[in-house]
């Protein structure tokens, strides 16, 4: 597609449920980031992939959070046993090879997760 696509756009989960959020980056973009944006806050880094390799996962808030990108394109962020504090918008962004650190991040519209 022409842009970064994220699904679902909205997800309501009961506390304790597992959720999976999908990101389809711009074709050919090597680097992919996941961010968490709580209400009224800026995006907070979660994890970074270059192709299929997860090079940095230092921002994942707990071991309930897991991300993968097995074929170096589509990525999935999985949250196990969701808690209310996981409620946020999850943003995915991609950037072409050689884009870092000076290039533009291309963001999807985000997946808004609400945990009841």
């Amino acid at each position: 597609g022409a842009g970064v696509s994220q699904s679902p756009r909205y997800k309501v989960a009961k506390r304790g449920q597992d959720v999976a959020l999908r990101c389809d980056p711009i074709s050919g973009h090597v680097s992919l980031f996941w961010y968490q944006q709580a209400l009224g806050q800026g995006p907070e880094f979660l994890t970074y992939f270059q192709n299929e390799a997860q090079l940095d996962k230092s921002g994942l808030p707990s071991d309930r959070f897991f991300a993968e990108r097995p074929e170096g394109s589509v990525s999935t962020l999985k949250i196990q046993r969701t808690q209310q504090e996981d409620s946020a918008v999850y943003l995915c962004a991609s950037i072409p090879i050689g884009g870092l650190p000076t290039g533009e991040l291309f963001f999807g519209e985000g997946s808004r997760l609400t945990v009841l």
Partner: protein
């Protein structure tokens, strides 16, 4: 650790008035600095960026920003605000390879 400070949570301006949104960065070496805009329900869109050269950079939609190393600042400006500029604005820096964002400034435009 890198940090980006946007001291103003909300800014209210009248349509046609000038605008300045403040941003302070922490990275000591030459920073790579960005301003992004986020409209409701949308992803972030790049307005402009600085990484070297002229310290006054021009961006899209009539925005500009000035890099001031002595003040560790990268403030965003626009001479005349339009109602469609109402949005959330984020300053970001890239110290190594991870873009770090400020908490954002919400711009409210009065007619």
């Amino acid at each position: 650790a890198q940090s980006v400070t946007q001291p103003d949570i909300h800014i209210t301006v009248s349509e046609g008035a000038s605008l300045e949104l403040r941003c302070n960065y922490s990275y000591g070496a030459t920073p790579y600095l960005f301003w992004y805009v986020q409209s409701p329900g949308q992803g972030l869109q790049l307005l402009l960026k600085y990484f070297s050269g002229d310290t006054l950079v021009q961006g899209i939609k009539g925005f500009e920003a000035e890099f001031k190393r002595s003040q560790s600042s990268f403030n965003l400006r626009k001479p005349s605000v339009h109602w469609s500029d109402a949005a959330e604005y984020f300053c970001a820096e890239v110290g190594s390879y991870i873009p770090t964002f400020g908490r954002g400034t919400s711009l409210i435009v009065h007619p």
